[in-house]
Every structure is written in C-alpha cells, then in structure tokens.
C-alpha cells in the first residue's frame, strides 16, 4: 500500500529508518549497477507497480550542477524496471521556467531516456485533483495537485544535494515543491512562499508522501542555491526509505545541522526521523563522506 493511503504516525512510534550513502566519483561511473546494489537492502516491493521518479529540474543547466543529473535519473529508471515495476514515469514541474521542454533539452534527458513522449510527465500541466493536507502546518489547507503524482503506486523523490537561499537546504523534501502545478499556481509557485516555505514543505510531503528518496550529490551546489550557487563535488549518492532521514543525513554530509533546518526539525516529529540514533546508516559513514558546504550568511547557524 502506498504511503499516501496510510495515516501519519508520530515519529516516536516509527521503526528506525534506513539510509545508504554510496561514494560515486563521477557521472561516468557505472551508476545503474551501483544503484541496484544500493537498493537491495531496502527490499522494495515494486513488482507490478507504477512508479514516478520526481527529479529536481529547476532550470536550464548545460553544465549539470543545478538539476538532478540525467545519468542518475536514467539509472534509477533502469533499476526500478529491473525490479519489476510495471511503469516508471519521470515527472517534474519546474518552478522558474515554464518551458519544461527547454530544460529537458538543456540537460539532454532525451539522450539518456530515449523518446520522452510516454515517459516524461510535465507536472506543471498535468490533470489535477483537490488534495486536503492532513498536517495543516500552513494556512493552505489544500491544493490542486497532479493526478499522476497522486495516482501512482510509488513516488521516488530524486533531489540534488544543494543549499537554498530561502530554506537553508533543498533536498528530497523541498524537491516535492516541484509537484505543485505551475499552470494553477504560477512560475514560481508563489502561493507556497506566502504560506511559509517551511510549513508548505511539511504539508506537501504529508500529502504526497514520497515512498523513497535518492539524492544526487555527485556534484551538488553550495552557497546561493538552488540556481546561482557554486558546484560542489561531494561524490555521493544517498538513498533511503524515509525522506526526512535522507535529508537529515545529507545535511550531516554537507556539514550542516539538520536540527537547525526549520522544516526538517518539524518533520522529525511527524514525517520521519532526524535523530542519528533512529537512522540505520549503511554503506559509507557520514564522517568519511562529509564535505563542508558554504552557506549564505543567513544560514551560518546551520554550521
């Protein structure tokens, strides 16, 4: 059963979450086979299921450090198909540029995935349904969200390891802002800013409930993210069955305190685990992969 159909469980009643950190030197590596190995410990039951991979496609990115890299997206698609998924779609609703196809062209997604017509879903333009938020963290109460995202059996948030000029960090939870349809709420989805970015992140994640998270930190971004920062080669991929735990782990890998990120500390009470002792860490250790990400002055307290 997809997480979206389950009631929210307070974090203290949840079993520990699993997170895997893998070291990956470059996008030329054998990412699909490495990813397939990394997914094994999770025992994901995806056979016969429809899956949506939700990468972070923010803007034109010919140099490849703003968006989730197409090699990583293609590898994930290959893995889930190999695991028996009936359909693996890729979908996003870019926040700043309404020409999604221009973004796909700039990242050369077609070269990695083949024809996109039946694979890629522009979530900005998808059919929508009214979704009431179970958390009521913001004043939004409800939004119209894409039917594709709410209708598939399994959602994978595929973020980029980045700092963010308003939220501190943008990882698998903030990545879910991309499901909010631009055709209803605009470019950018300003209604989320007015509702409070941190609170809106909680509401959207509580409603969409991504089942799994993969973060592309092979080359991330530090400083004035999500689009104007500097590339940061961290050489990691992070996987997990709890987006909150994945994001908390990513913060630690970035040399940042997850408890200081407002939405993460609140998510730690109801959507997943932030505390180290509630996260079963597999693969590489945080210490061995840590690299200090530069942040804007407003977020120095995260250090």
């Amino acid at each position: 059963m997809t997480l979206r159909n389950q009631t929210l469980t307070p974090s203290f009643q949840r079993p520990p979450s699993q997170v895997v950190i893998r070291r990956v030197g470059s996008y030329q590596a054998e990412i699909a086979s490495l990813m397939f190995e990394s997914l094994a410990p999770f025992g994901l039951q995806v056979k016969g299921k429809s899956i949506l991979l939700k990468p972070n496609l923010v803007g034109l990115d010919p140099e490849g450090f703003i968006n989730t890299h197409p090699t990583v997206i293609a590898a994930a698609r290959e893995c889930f198909l190999r695991m028996g998924a009936s359909q693996v779609l890729v979908g996003d609703g870019p926040a700043l540029d309404r020409d999604t196809e221009a973004i796909l062209e700039s990242v050369k997604l077609r070269e990695h995935l083949g024809p996109l017509r039946n694979v890629f879903v522009d979530l900005n333009l998808d059919d929508v349904e009214r979704v009431t938020f179970p958390t009521r963290a913001s004043r939004l109460r409800e939004l119209f969200l894409p039917k594709t995202c709410m209708g598939v059996d399994f959602v994978v948030s595929m973020a980029k390891l980045k700092t963010h000029h308003w939220a501190g960090v943008t990882l698998s939870m903030k990545n879910m802002f991309g499901i909010v349809p631009g055709a209803c709420y605009g470019w950018p989805k300003n209604v989320l800013h007015w509702a409070g970015i941190d609170r809106a992140i909680l509401d959207i994640n509580a409603a969409a409930r991504p089942d799994f998270a993969i973060v592309d930190g092979i080359v991330g971004m530090e400083g004035n993210g999500p689009t104007q920062g500097q590339p940061k080669a961290s050489g990691v991929l992070v996987f997990g069955n709890d987006p909150v735990a994945v994001d908390a782990t990513c913060c630690r890998v970035m040399g940042l305190r997850p408890e200081g990120v407002k939405y993460l500390s609140q998510a730690g009470t109801m959507l997943g685990h932030v505390q180290v002792d509630k996260i079963q860490q597999l693969g590489e250790t945080i210490e061995s992969t840590r690299s200090s990400f530069a942040v804007l002055p407003a977020f120095q307290s995260l250090k």
Binding site: D97, D99, A102, P115, L116, G186, N224
Partner: protein, 319 residues
Amino acid sequence: MESELENSEVARICLPFLRDTQNPDGGWGFRPGTASRVEATCWALLALWEPSEQSSEDRVRVHRARDFLQTTQLSDGSWPAAPGEETGCWVTSLCCLALNAIGDQTQKSAIESGSRWICDDWPSDSTPWRRFLARLASHNDVAPMNTSYRGWGWTPGTSSWVEPTSFALLALERPESPEIARKAKERRSLATSLLFDRVCPGGGWNAGNPVVYGAAGEPGVVPTVWSLLALRNVAARAEIIQSLDWLQRTAANVQSPGSLALAQICLRTYGQSQPGMAPLSDVLKRSEFLDNTLVAAWAVLACGSDFWLGKSGARKVAA
C-alpha cells in the same frame, strides 16, 4: 517563398493536432485526452482563429471554445486555472485577451467583468503595510526592487511577477468601458514601471527577480517575450532595445519549440530579423513537442498575422 513553405509545414504539423484534440466540452487540455483548461483553450482558440489558416470547421471549433470559456467564468468575472477551482487567477487575462481578439460582441459583458476583476486584483506584496514591514526587515537587500510599483500575481493575494503582469497589460490594452479604462490606466502605468524595474542587468526578464543576493538573475525566453510584447508601445526605451538584443542572440540557440515559437512572434512584432534560428518545423518534429497544446498553438501563431496583438487582418466572429 522559403518562409511560406516553412509556415505551411508548421501548420501541417500543428493544426491537425489542435483540430483533433478539442474535448467534447469545447475546451482543450494541455495534452490530448486531459481535462479542458482555460489556458490551453485560449491559445488553441487563437491559433484556430488565425486568419491565414481558418476554415469554416475551425469557426465552429472556435465557437465551441468560446462557449467553454463562457461556462467556466466565475461569478466575480474571473476564470479559474483548473476545473473545480473556486478562485480565479492569472488566466483571466488570457481569456480577456482571447475573447477580445476574436471580436465577438456577444462576449462583451464577459470581457468587461473579467477586465474589472483584473483591475481590482491588487498584489499583496506592495500594500502600504507590507512596504512598511519590508523597510524594517533586516534582509530587505536580498532581492532589491521598487515596491511602489505594482503589477499582478499568479494567484490573488500574492506578489507581482513578470508574466502575469505582462498578460494583464496585454488584456487591458483596449478596454471599452470608461470605468474600466480609467482603472486600467492607473494599473497599466504602475505595471509598466514594474516591468522596467524588473529587467535583468544584461537585458531580458526572468520570473521577476533580476538580482538575488547580489547575483544577477538569468533572463529566460518566455518571460522576456511576454514582457516585450506587453511593452511594445514603449519600444524606444533602452531596456527594450537591450532585451531585444538579448532575445535575438539567445533565440539562435533555442532548441525547444515553445520558446522558439514565442521568440519568433516577438521578434517579428518588433520588426527584428531572426538570424540563425532553427526552423520551427524541424524542432517540432525532432522534439515531438511532447503533445503540448500550448506549443502547437504558439507555433501556429508564430507563422501567422499577429491579429491577436491588434494587428490589421483581424476578423470578427459571427454571433
């Protein structure tokens, strides 16, 4: 001759797509088989009303589209972005623009109530109270901009952004009612100033943040096109010339059909040459345009007469 061939090739790709994908309710979805949406319907309607391409069957399709727009208008005069939404938003400007462009007298009151709604829809970021708070805030240099200018937001109660402001400027160009004309004049003046305030340092526009934390914003083709079209009556200003220059240089490398079509419309409107741009028909074929109704409609309009921007050649729809 070459451009005529190119235009007919674009029409050959896009018009059958548009004709075949109208929903039974008269509207279009963003993709075939999806629910009718106001935005997609406005653009498809304009593409099928293009004088150089129109057939009698298209006239019927346009009438059905017009009826769809009529039934989806909310009681306050606005239009919602999606079925089931009870609040109107930025697509109201597109509806007024599209219904105006087909010159349908039966739609006069719908256009008037839509235009009135647009005039009364003020953004919330620039209220006196907000501006007072902004002056007190420690981070008011994050994205410096003149908050005395006011445009339009994507949704009510939010901030001004470049694209919805441009659409509203286009929609309010020729209001018939004196009351709306008076309101529109004030709004247009503030909004025009806002667009000039939001030009990126090297020309062109992005969503509406020309500088963030001291870093110059990257302009984008789509917001630049809408801004330039909305400001085409003040074309002599340096910001326009610089932005046109940016668009001309950028368009030569555009590989997506939507941006390419819009760049073509804009440069033609300004009488600018389009050096080095890829043929739209090639890009449409290569990219499959992802079955996107908007892209197909913009492509048809890119090869057309600009009637929807008030150019001569506009026809009037029969009641």
